[in-house]
């Protein structure tokens, strides 16, 4: 287990010169990014700019072609690092929820703590119920995912990602697959998480939300970070032509 020197200890995520190619197609062309403890970073940008790929590199769901990624003190690019260990510190929420359909809602949440021997079944069940209460779905513990609405599914997925008590949460367009009337309930849960001091990276199309919860907004285009800054600066006074261009289309 390789931990890094103390000067970087305050930042939960450090990305340096990250490059990622699919075959000959280079999707990330040298990304630098820092996320501090308790910071909420929103990533925006046009479709295909590499937002999801960046997020997936952070917990190594994608192999990293070059550069360095340090998450919660672990060097993800070091082949000797136990990636499963790292992932227990990083929760991830997907656009399409990816709940396990053959398990009940509670079992979805209990799977990781029980299988990874963090908690016994009774403790895990109590934890699941606590998390479900937190996302407002206490009564759904024994339901099957198929019987839930989209918004409820995504809230369960968030509870599941929190089951291992991660220090970092990653969201990849958590509300994009939802009917408009359900977006609010999910954003509400994310906002409460942000307010609780969780370190988060959110890829989102919800500009208003990014402005509201983000400590910092990162605008990506063509595989590079084009511009970043505080929400009011980036949305109110974008410096780059491409940022202005993008914002004029989406706002």
């Amino acid at each position: 287990m390789s931990t890094v020197s103390e000067q970087t200890a305050t930042s939960k995520i450090q990305v340096k010169e990250l490059r990622k190619s699919f075959g000959s197609n280079e999707v990330l062309k040298g990304i630098d990014l820092q996320v501090g403890e308790g910071e909420v970073v929103c990533v925006i940008g046009p479709s295909g700019s590499g937002k999801s790929t960046l997020l997936r590199c952070l917990n190594k769901l994608e192999d990293i072609s070059a550069g360095k990624v340090i998450v919660d003190g672990f060097d993800v690019t070091d082949p000797k690092v136990d990636i499963n260990e790292v992932r227990r510190h990083v929760g991830m929420v997907f656009q399409h929820f990816n709940l396990f359909p053959h398990m009940s809602v509670a079992e979805n949440i209990m799977l990781a703590p029980v299988e990874l021997k963090k908690l016994n079944r009774t403790e895990a069940r109590a934890k699941a119920e606590e998390l479900l209460t937190r996302v407002g779905l206490a009564e759904k513990a024994n339901a099957r995912p198929a019987s839930l609405s989209g918004g409820q599914k995504q809230r369960v997925a968030i509870a599941r990602a929190l089951a291992m008590s991660p220090g970092i949460m990653l969201f990849d367009e958590a509300t994009s697959a939802l009917d408009p009337e359900m977006v609010g309930e999910v954003l509400q849960v994310i906002k409460e998480l942000a307010d609780s001091g969780m370190t988060m990276v959110l890829v989102t199309h919800e500009m208003g939300f990014a402005r509201e919860v983000g400590d910092r907004v990162v605008f990506m285009d063509g595989g590079v970070v084009c511009e970043e800054g505080k929400p009011e600066e980036l949305f109110g006074n974008p410096q780059q032509e491409r940022t202005r261009d993008f914002l004029s289309k989406v706002l």
Partner: protein, 476 residues
């Protein structure tokens, strides 16, 4: 007289060979002696198995004569050529196997007086009132057994009477052809035909017997003279006492006198053997399916591997066993493998290998398809929680894949149960094989097959119900 010369010759040879003890062979008395007698495996009505016991004309004759003459016999059911080989190498003392006495054989063996006069006869359907003799065969088809005396005779008169000879391999199929009307008559060896009719095969004879060969009991030339003499004496006494005719009538008498056994008698009589067969069918299917599941999972997972070599191995396995007939592998494992390796391959091993490798190839494809049909997001979600690849597969992907695979797997299990009948070709005693054994002895082909069919059907229905129940129970 000849006996004396033979005995003297043996005595002389024994002296020359410096083994005076062999003179004991010249002893006239057979009383209390035990002789090993070789015979064929199945040649109804001379020797065949009924309820597991070897029975038939030969067996009744040799046992009655032995009792009469006060000696004991130990029967070895070896097969015709093997029995003769055993006789030549003195592993058995005599052979009784429905064997014709020929000049060639007389060179090597000493024969008893003929104990049976064979010949050729023609039979037609019991209800056929128009075919009364060879002259009614004009333009018709007649069946005969390949390589039999009956075939030779039928061909010799075919032109004269203007009929066509169709040669078939099995007595049972010949009789079925006549009963179904695809042939009008059968010309066959008299004892076989008479036995079939005695077993109620639905035919009747319409011509006189054309005399053919005579059958004899054989010992090695110049040896066991006392045994041979005792056989001849015993035979003469049986003929005189009428016991001989009684034995023959038991197997060859016209059934018009006998009460024809009905379908339910047949069911009752054949059920024990068929149940043994069903047991073997179910057991070989169960074992093979378990092995096939292991193979299928292994090769199925190898098929989705990122490693091109591993994938290649799996693809080759699947292609080889999907691309070749099952029966070929049955022969290969049972006959080929022992010759190639020198191992003793049991019929169960050969059977299980055949069925499981074949089904394993199909199950590998089912497994691959099942796993690939699970949304990749499921594996990602599990991995993102920190579960390893193996755990994620086990807890998240495979359970969902299995749910999708279950109908195909049940289907594969049923195909396998039916395919197991092909193993009869290597002599595996499964259900259909037992059925064949039964109708080879009683010639009631259609009824026996009907019973076998019903048993298969019930077994498969029960299995399907069970599997669907398990599916609902575990995959809800």
């Amino acid at each position: 007289m000849t006996r004396w010369i033979a005995a003297a010759a043996i005595g002389f040879m024994a002296l020359v060979a410096g083994a005076p003890g062999a003179l004991a062979q010249g002893n006239e008395s057979v009383e209390g002696q035990t002789y090993v007698i070789g015979t064929d495996t199945t040649f109804a009505p001379f020797e065949f198995r009924q309820d597991g016991e070897l029975t038939g004309i030969d067996m009744d004759l040799i046992n009655t004569i032995a009792e009469e003459q006060g000696f004991n016999v130990e029967i070895r059911s070896l097969g015709f050529s093997a029995a003769l080989q055993a006789l030549s190498s003195n592993q058995v003392d005599g052979v009784i196997a429905g064997m014709s006495i020929t000049d060639e054989r007389k060179e090597i063996y000493d024969f008893s007086e003929p104990y049976f006069e064979s010949g050729v006869q023609m039979a037609v359907d019991r209800d056929d009132e128009t075919t009364k003799g060879y002259e009614d065969l004009e333009g018709e088809t007649v069946v005969a057994k390949t390589g039999s005396e009956g075939e030779t005779y039928a061909k010799s008169i075919a032109d004269e009477y203007g009929f066509t000879v169709k040669s078939l391999d099995q007595s049972a199929t010949m009789y079925e052809s006549v009963k179904s009307g695809s042939a009008v008559a059968v010309i066959d060896d008299y004892p076989v035909l008479a036995y079939g009719i005695a077993q109620n095969n639905g035919l009747k004879t319409v011509t006189d017997k054309v005399p053919g060969g005579s059958y004899g009991f054989a010992v090695n030339k110049g040896e066991n003279t006392a045994l041979l003499a005792a056989f001849n004496d015993g035979l003469a006494e049986l003929k005189a006492s009428g016991e001989y005719d009684k034995i023959l009538n038991e197997y060859l008498a016209d059934p018009s006198a006998a009460v024809p056994s009905n379908f339910f008698d047949l069911v009752a009589k054949s059920l024990p053997a068929l149940m043994t067969g069903l047991g073997n069918t179910l057991l070989v299917t169960a074992i093979s399916f378990a092995v096939a599941m292991v193979l299928g999972l292994l090769f199925g997972f190898m098929k989705i591997s990122g490693n091109i070599v591993v994938r290649g191995i799996s693809t080759s396995f699947v292609n080889i066993f999907r691309g070749t007939p099952l029966l070929l592998w049955a022969f290969m494992f049972y006959f080929g493998l022992p010759q190639l390796t020198g191992w003793d391959v049991s019929i169960w091993v050969a059977g299980v290998l055949t069925l499981s490798l074949n089904a394993g190839a199909y199950i590998a494809e089912i497994v691959r398809g099942g796993i690939q049909s699970v949304d990749p997001g499921q594996l990602e979600a599990s991995r993102s929680l920190g579960l390893g690849y193996g755990k994620s597969m086990q807890k998240v992907v495979v359970p969902q894949a299995f749910k999708m695979m279950t109908p195909s797997l049940i289907n594969q299990l049923i195909i396998m149960l039916k395919d197991s009948s092909l193993l009869l070709a290597i002599g595996f005693a499964e259900l259909l094989y037992q059925g064949q054994q039964i109708y080879a002895a009683n010639f009631r082909v259609t009824e026996t097959l009907l019973i076998v069919g019903v048993i298969y059907f019930i077994a498969i229905m029960a299995l399907t119900k069970l599997a669907n129940f398990a599916d609902r129970r575990f995959n809800k």
